[in-house]
């Protein structure tokens, strides 16, 4: 175990939502393990994953809440939206029903998170082009109408998976930089670690060292 995993400046809380079987857990698994999980069991309630990635020159730890898609869990999973900085709303490009349910998921996401929560729409299973049931264009239009980021991705091939998480993180970071996201707000979904060494701010090192070795 090295120190590297603990060197990050921010923690962003993400939630992944969407219908059952659209591949939410597989997206997470691909993102954290860089592997495709072919036989993925149904998620009970919520599972978690973490990964540290560099976002606009900052090390950010993503704490991802992967919720269950099953309708019967909906009441429980609603409890987990609170305090999310980013939401990945996933549908399956080969199943139109999962796309049609997006408005319901979006309503939950809007109602249960804060106004600054960045929502990215992900059309998963992009590798199954032959079975495509939802066109890129219509989904793109839906995203634009609702002010969402949008990407088509494949948890199987890994295509755009990294970008999906990264694009949302960049937007969150941008919101922090331009002040529209208040870090002090209770449910911003972002934790800042001012103590962590940050790029371009060398002055931080001196006091922290002093703290470390007072004996």
């Amino acid at each position: 175990m090295t120190t590297a995993p603990y060197n990050y400046s921010y923690i962003f809380k993400y939630i992944i939502i969407g219908d059952m079987g659209v591949g939410k857990s597989c997206l997470l698994h691909q993102f954290t393990e860089k592997k495709f999980m072919a036989d993925c069991p149904h998620t009970i309630g919520v599972e978690f994953g973490t990964r540290i990635m560099e976002v606009s020159g900052q090390k950010v730890k993503l704490q991802i809440w992967d919720t269950a898609g099953q309708e019967r869990f909906r009441a429980v999973t609603r409890s987990y939206y609170r305090g999310a900085a980013g939401a990945l709303m996933v549908y399956d490009i080969t199943r139109r029903s999962t796309y049609n349910h997006l408005s319901s998921w979006l309503t939950d996401a809007r109602n249960l998170t804060n106004p600054n929560t960045v929502i990215i729409l992900i059309g998963n299973k992009a590798d199954l082009e032959a079975q495509r049931d939802v066109t890129y264009e219509e989904a793109k239009q839906f995203a634009e109408e609702n002010g969402l980021l949008f990407l088509e991705a494949s948890a199987k091939t890994g295509e755009n998976v990294e970008d999906a998480f990264l694009e949302a993180a960049k937007k969150i970071y941008q919101n922090i930089q331009d002040g529209s996201l208040d870090l002090n707000a209770a449910e911003s979904g972002v934790q800042h670690k001012p103590s962590a060494p940050q790029g371009g701010r060398l002055g931080n090192d001196a006091p922290s060292q002093k703290e470390g070795c007072s004996c």
Partner: protein, 503 residues
């Protein structure tokens, strides 16, 4: 204190100088006519060239400086019976240089003393040396006698000087000793502080005692502190491995705990709103029901006495019991992750044990040879493994409770034959089982530690063992607290079930 903390020697040196410098000023020893002579001496002592540590340089200079004075001094020795005080004055000046040199060597100690004094407000060296003259007095008497016996020549002066020197050595020695005792006391206190600062477990316990907010917050703060320490403190590799809070977070214990807390909180709100919407007999009935559900949460007994001496080091018995209990819950939640973690931990302990030959007296030499050949587990390794295992098992326990909460809430209308109150009872039993397991685990790890570290000193081994027990006790507390979060969840489940049943 920071102003005096300069790590270079001058500060320490100066302090010691001041200590000896003040001595002659005590009324008994220093007649007023002597004082003018002392003043310049003191001045010379403070000259910058005395500050650098070189051992050879200042002393000869000092001696040569004082030589012209010695004849004059020997003359006066006849007049002054206790004239040693005078000798003493420059003898000490010589000594001060000597101590200055010594101070350079024992710099660390002087600094500790200095720190101790400034922090604790113990008597300053000046005060201490002011007490010393009483002893010096007697010494001075013999010094003077010696001086007379050896005639009143420069020789006698030199001797007098030497003896007075020794007397100052005594007094300075006393200062050092008194200082050292205080320093030890100070170090003790400081160590407690350092332990409190450096030991996340201690902090956590303290945090729990105060209970500022929620458990997850306490744990998150602990984790953040550890992360901060780790990112700053690159030197200590051992510490890095054994941060409970960070490991607990890595096993996603923190996330599950947070999620469980939010479920518990929301359940509480819902239960309250249901209660306010009711009245009369209906309300009384529901209150009684909820009381029944709550009961197992307050009747908990977590005495982990060693009444059961059964050996279950491989955790098979534990896995079986847990599986039975889980099935009694009728929630289609399995504890597989947890039992798997338990099994892995057992395997790791077995690895350590097999790699550590049980040393008997006859085999000692052979063992030593083995140790050379096979890389042994160090106590630090075992400690890190213990902390990590405890963090993992605790995280998995909390994950289990979280899963139970999720399934209880969505499955309320399900086909469970067991009442919510009985589920609560089973969960209480599971909590006890988990806490016992944690306790058992800590025992086998500390056992391992003593075996592995049989050649280590107590001061190396004891903190590690204490650390394991501390985190084990913390782990048990977290598990119990997580269990308590289930109370409102089960109450809400009960309400939902009754409502569904009515329909």
């Amino acid at each position: 204190m920071s102003a005096n903390e300069s790590p270079t020697d001058p500060a320490a040196e100066q302090m010691v100088e001041q200590a000896s410098a003040t001595t002659p000023e005590s009324p008994t020893e220093a007649p007023s006519d002597v004082s003018p002579d002392i003043a310049p001496t003191r001045k010379t002592r403070r000259r910058p060239e005395h500050k650098p540590p070189p051992a050879d340089d200042p002393s000869p200079q000092e001696v040569s400086e004082s030589k012209p004075e010695s004849p004059k001094a020997s003359n006066e020795s006849a007049v002054l019976q206790g004239g040693w005080g005078y000798w003493g004055s420059w003898g000490k000046s010589l000594l001060s240089t000597a101590t200055a040199t010594v101070a350079t060597v024992g710099q660390g100690i002087s600094q500790v003393i200095e720190k101790a004094e400034t922090t604790l407000g113990i008597p300053s060296p000046e005060e201490l040396s002011a007490q010393a003259p009483q002893e010096e007095n007697t010494d001075g008497g013999t010094a003077g006698a010696e001086g007379e016996a050896q005639d009143d020549t420069a020789m006698g002066g030199a001797l007098g000087m030497l003896s007075s020197l020794s007397s100052v050595v005594q007094s300075t020695g006393k200062t050092v000793i008194t200082g050292s005792l205080d320093a030890l006391e100070f170090i003790g206190k400081k160590t407690m502080d350092v332990i409190a600062e450096g030991d996340p477990g201690f902090k956590k316990t303290k945090g729990l005692m105060i209970r500022p907010t929620t458990l997850s917050q306490v744990l998150r703060e602990a984790k953040e502190r550890e992360e901060q320490q780790t990112s700053e403190d690159l030197s200590s590799d051992v510490e890095k491995k054994a941060h409970y809070g960070m490991l607990f977070d890595e096993f996603q214990g923190l996330a599950h705990l947070e999620a469980l807390e939010s479920l518990s909180r929301e359940s509480e709100i819902k239960v309250k709103s249901v209660l306010t919407s009711m009245s009369g007999g209906e309300l009384a009935q529901l209150k009684a029901d909820l009381e029944e559900v709550s009961e197992p949460f307050s009747l908990m007994e977590f005495e982990d006495d060693d009444d059961d001496t059964k050996e279950d080091s491989d955790g098979v018995e534990f896995a079986k019991e847990l599986r039975d209990a889980m099935s009694r819950l009728q929630l289609s939640v399995t504890a597989d992750k947890l039992t798997q973690a338990r099994t892995n931990i057992h395997d790791r302990i077995a690895d350590v044990k097999s790699a550590t030959p049980v040393s008997t007296t006859e085999e000692d030499e052979k063992d030593e040879a083995d140790e050379m050949a096979v890389p042994q587990h160090t106590p630090e390794d075992v400690h890190a493994l213990a902390i990590s295992s405890l963090a993992e098992l605790t995280a998995k326990s909390i994950e289990l409770f979280h899963k139970v909460a999720q399934v209880v809430l969505h499955n309320a209308s399900g086909n469970a034959q067991i009442s919510t109150g009985d589920q609560a009872k089973v969960l209480a039993q599971i909590t006890i089982m988990l806490c016992k397991e944690i306790s058992l685990l800590s025992k086998s790890f500390t056992c391992c530690l003593t075996t592995v570290g049989s050649n280590e000193k107590g001061e190396v081994l004891n903190p590690l063992i204490t650390g394991v027990f501390l985190e084990a006790s913390n782990s048990a507390t977290y598990i119990q607290d997580a269990f308590q979060l289930l109370r409102t969840v089960l109450q809400l489940a009960h309400i939902q079930r009754t409502a569904d049943f009515a329909q």
